[in-house]
C-alpha cells in the first residue's frame, strides 16, 4: 500500500466520509450513547475494533463469499466479533457494559460496519480494508466523543466524569438535547469541511494547471511566468476551454 493510498483512506474515514457527521450513519448509538464523553469513547472503540476485524475477515473472504448471500455472510462475521466484544467487556469493564446496554448487541446491524463491508472491504485488499476500518472507526469515535463531551459539559457540568461546576442544563442529557447537539454538530462540521475543501481544491487546481516550462517558447523565459496565481490559472483554463469550443465549432 502506497503512502498516497493510505492518506486517501485516512482522509476519507476521518473527514470526507465521516460516518456520523457526513454520512449520518449509526445514528441510533450516536443519539443514545453520547450522554457522556466516556460512553462515546467506549462505544467508538468497540465499533472500531469490530470494524477492523470484520473488514479484514471480509476482505480475506471476498473471493469466496458468493455474491447472492453476501449480506448474511457479512452479518454472521460481524456478529461473531460483536459477541467477542460483549464477552470481553462483560468480564473486564462491567460498568461500561451496563451503560451500553442494548446498543452493544445492536452493533451487529450497525450501518457503518455493514456499509464499509459492502462498499470497501468486499472490493479491496486486506491491508487497505484494515486501514479503512481503523480510520472509519476513529472518525466515529471522535464524533461520538465530541458530542458526548458537549452534552456532558452542558447537561451535567462534568467532563469524563470529572465534575466542573454545579450549573447544569438537563435538556442536554435528554434525548431532545441529543438531537439538538447532533444536528448542530453536523452543521458546524459540514461548514468547516466545505471551507477546508474549497481551500484545498483551489490549491490543487492551481498546481494542476501550472504549465510545464516550455523551452522553445521565448515568453516563458520571463521570471514572472513561473508564478501562477490562482486567478491566472483559472483564466488560463477558461481561455483554453473557449479555444476548444471554438475549434470544435470550426470543425
Amino acid at each position: 500500500m502506497t503512502g498516497k493510498r493510505f492518506k486517501t483512506i485516512a482522509f476519507d474515514g476521518l473527514l470526507k466520509n465521516n460516518p456520523t457527521l457526513r454520512l449520518v450513519l449509526g445514528t441510533c448509538p450516536t443519539l443514545a450513547l453520547s450522554t457522556a464523553a466516556f460512553n462515546g469513547i467506549g462505544m467508538g472503540l468497540a465499533v472500531t475494533f469490530i470494524l477492523i476485524c470484520s473488514n479484514v475477515l471480509i476482505s480475506l473472504l471476498r473471493k469466496t463469499i458468493p455474491n447472492a448471500v453476501r449480506i448474511p455472510a457479512f452479518v454472521i462475521i460481524i456478529a461473531t466479533f460483536v459477541t467477542i466484544v460483549r464477552m470481553v467487556l462483560d468480564k473486564f469493564i462491567p460498568s461500561l457494559y451496563d451503560s451500553m446496554g442494548v446498543y452493544l448487541p445492536l452493533i451487529v446491524v450497525n450501518c457503518i460496519i455493514l456499509g464499509r463491508a459492502e462498499s470497501f472491504a468486499s472490493k479491496n485488499k486486506v491491508l487497505d480494508s484494515a486501514c479503512d476500518g481503523l480510520f472509519t472507526g476513529l472518525g466515529f469515535t471522535c464524533a461520538l466523543t465530541f458530542i458526548g463531551a458537549v452534552r456532558e459539559i452542558l447537561g451535567a457540568g462534568a467532563i469524563f466524569g470529572f465534575q466542573l461546576w454545579d450549573f447544569k442544563i438537563e435538556f442536554f442529557t435528554s434525548s431532545a438535547g441529543a438531537f439538538f447537539v447532533y444536528g448542530l454538530s453536523i452543521a458546524i462540521f459540514n461548514a468547516v469541511y466545505k471551507k477546508m475543501e474549497n481551500v484545498r481544491r483551489s490549491k490543487t487546481f492551481a498546481v494542476r494547471v501550472m504549465p510545464k516550462p516550455d523551452v522553445s517558447a521565448p515568453d516563458n523565459l520571463d521570471p514572472d511566468a513561473s508564478v501562477v496565481t490562482d486567478t491566472d490559472a483559472q483564466e488560463q483554463t477558461n481561455s483554453t476551454a473557449t479555444a476548444d469550443v471554438a475549434a470544435k465549432e470550426v470543425k
Binding site: I169, E170, F171, F172, A176, F180
Partner: protein, 344 residues
C-alpha cells in the same frame, strides 16, 4: 387624459402591519403582566425584564451575524421578539434564577424562530417552546419553584410547592375559592397565569381590535372543561376549577391563537382548538402535571397536516355546502338524462 400609473401588485394594502398587531398583543398582555408584578413582587418584574431584553438582544445579534446593517435591523424590527419574551416570562414561575429566563429566551428566539427563517417562518410557537425548554432543562428548579403571591403572605396563609392544579390532579381537591382562582389571589403559579381577570381583559381587547376571534379561545377552554368533567365521571363541580387553574387562559388567549402556528382556515381552526381542549384535559388527567404548553406544542406540529386536509376556500369559489348542492344537482340532472334516454 388622466395619468395612468403602472405598478406591480399588490395595489391595495391593508393598514395592519405585523408591528401594529404585535403592539396590540403587548398592550393586551400588560394587565396580566402588571398583576403578576403586583402579586409576585420584584422577582417577577426582573424575570420579565430579563426575558424581554434577552429576546430582543438575541434577535439583534442573530441579524448582525447574518451581516445585516444595524440600521436595517432596527427599521425592520417588528416587536415579535418582545411578545415572545413577554409571553415566555409570563409562563415561568417568579422564583426562578436569572439564567432560566435568559437561556430560555435565547433558545426560543435563536433556535425556534431565527433558525427556521425568522418571523412567520417558525413551525412552533417560540414562547411555548421556550417554556418547554425551561421545563426540561431546569426540571429541578421549575418543579419546586412555585411560590404563592406575596399578598397572600400578608394574610398569613402561604402556599408553596404544589400549585392548585397539581394538588387537584393529585386527588387532593383545591383549597382556594373560585373567586380567588379567578382573581389569582393567594394562588401559586406562573407570573402571568394566575390573574384570570387580567387575561380576560387582555383577551377582550384583542377581540375588540380584531386581532383574534373570540370563538377560538372559548372553544379551547370550554372543551377542556367539558372533557375534564367527563373524565371525572360527570362531576360538574370540576368544570370551573379545571378551567380556572393552570395556564389554560394564558395558553388559550395568547399562545394557541398565534397566527403563524395555527391553521389558515376557519374550519381548520375549529378542529385545532377542539383537539387542543381534548388533548389538554386528557393529558392533564394522565400525567398529573400542567400540560397546556405541551399540548399547544404538539398541536403546532400538527398544523401543517390540518392545513393539508382542510384548505381555505379561495375567494369567489363555492363553499362546502354549495359544492355539495351543485354535486347533487348534477347527479339529478344526469339521472334525469338517463331516464329520458331510457324512455326514448
Amino acid at each position: 387624459m388622466e395619468k395612468v400609473i403602472v405598478s406591480d401588485s399588490p395595489h391595495i394594502r391593508g393598514k395592519r402591519t405585523t408591528r401594529g398587531i404585535m403592539l396590540d398583543v403587548i398592550i393586551a398582555l400588560l394587565p396580566a403582566a402588571v398583576m403578576g408584578c403586583v402579586y409576585f413582587g420584584l422577582d417577577a418584574f426582573f424575570t420579565i425584564l430579563i426575558s424581554v431584553a434577552a429576546s430582543v438582544l438575541t434577535e439583534f445579534v442573530y441579524c448582525l451575524c447574518l451581516k445585516k446593517k444595524p440600521l436595517d435591523i432596527i427599521k425592520s424590527f417588528d416587536l415579535t421578539s418582545v411578545v415572545t419574551g413577554l409571553l415566555l416570562a409570563m409562563c415561568l414561575p417568579s422564583s426562578v434564577p436569572w439564567y432560566v429566563p435568559l437561556l430560555s429566551a435565547v433558545f426560543s428566539i435563536a433556535v425556534v424562530k431565527m433558525l427556521f427563517g425568522g418571523t412567520g417562518k417558525n413551525i412552533v410557537n417560540p414562547a411555548i417552546t421556550g417554556r418547554v425548554f425551561a421545563f426540561i432543562a431546569f426540571q429541578s428548579v421549575m418543579v419546586s419553584g412555585w411560590v404563592a403571591p406575596s399578598i397572600a403572605a400578608l394574610d398569613g396563609s402561604v402556599t408553596t410547592g404544589a400549585t392548585q392544579l397539581t394538588s387537584m390532579l393529585g386527588g387532593n381537591g383545591y383549597s382556594v375559592s373560585l373567586l380567588d382562582m379567578f382573581l389569582g389571589t393567594g394562588m401559586a403559579g406562573c407570573i402571568g397565569e394566575t390573574c384570570k381577570l387580567a387575561l380576560l381583559i387582555g383577551g377582550i381587547y384583542l377581540v375588540a381590535r380584531k386581532v383574534i376571534k373570540w370563538q377560538y379561545p372559548v372553544i379551547y377552554i370550554v372543551v377542556e372543561g367539558f372533557v375534564a368533567v367527563c373524565l371525572a365521571k360527570f362531576d360538574f363541580a370540576q368544570f370551573m376549577p379545571s378551567i380556572l387553574s393552570g395556564g389554560l387562559f394564558l395558553g388559550a388567549i395568547f399562545m394557541a391563537t398565534d397566527y403563524v402556528t395555527s391553521p389558515n382556515s376557519a374550519a381548520g381552526n375549529y378542529v385545532y382548538f377542539v383537539a387542543l381542549g381534548v388533548l389538554t384535559a386528557v393529558l392533564r388527567a394522565a400525567t398529573k402535571i400542567e400540560v397546556v404548553s405541551f399540548a399547544i406544542l404538539l398541536m403546532n406540529l400538527l398544523v401543517p397536516l390540518i392545513n393539508a386536509y382542510i384548505r381555505p376556500r379561495p375567494f369567489g369559489a363555492a363553499g362546502f355546502i354549495e359544492r355539495i348542492r351543485t354535486k347533487i344537482a348534477e347527479k339529478k340532472a344526469a339521472k334525469a338524462a338517463k331516464e329520458e334516454e331510457g324512455k326514448q
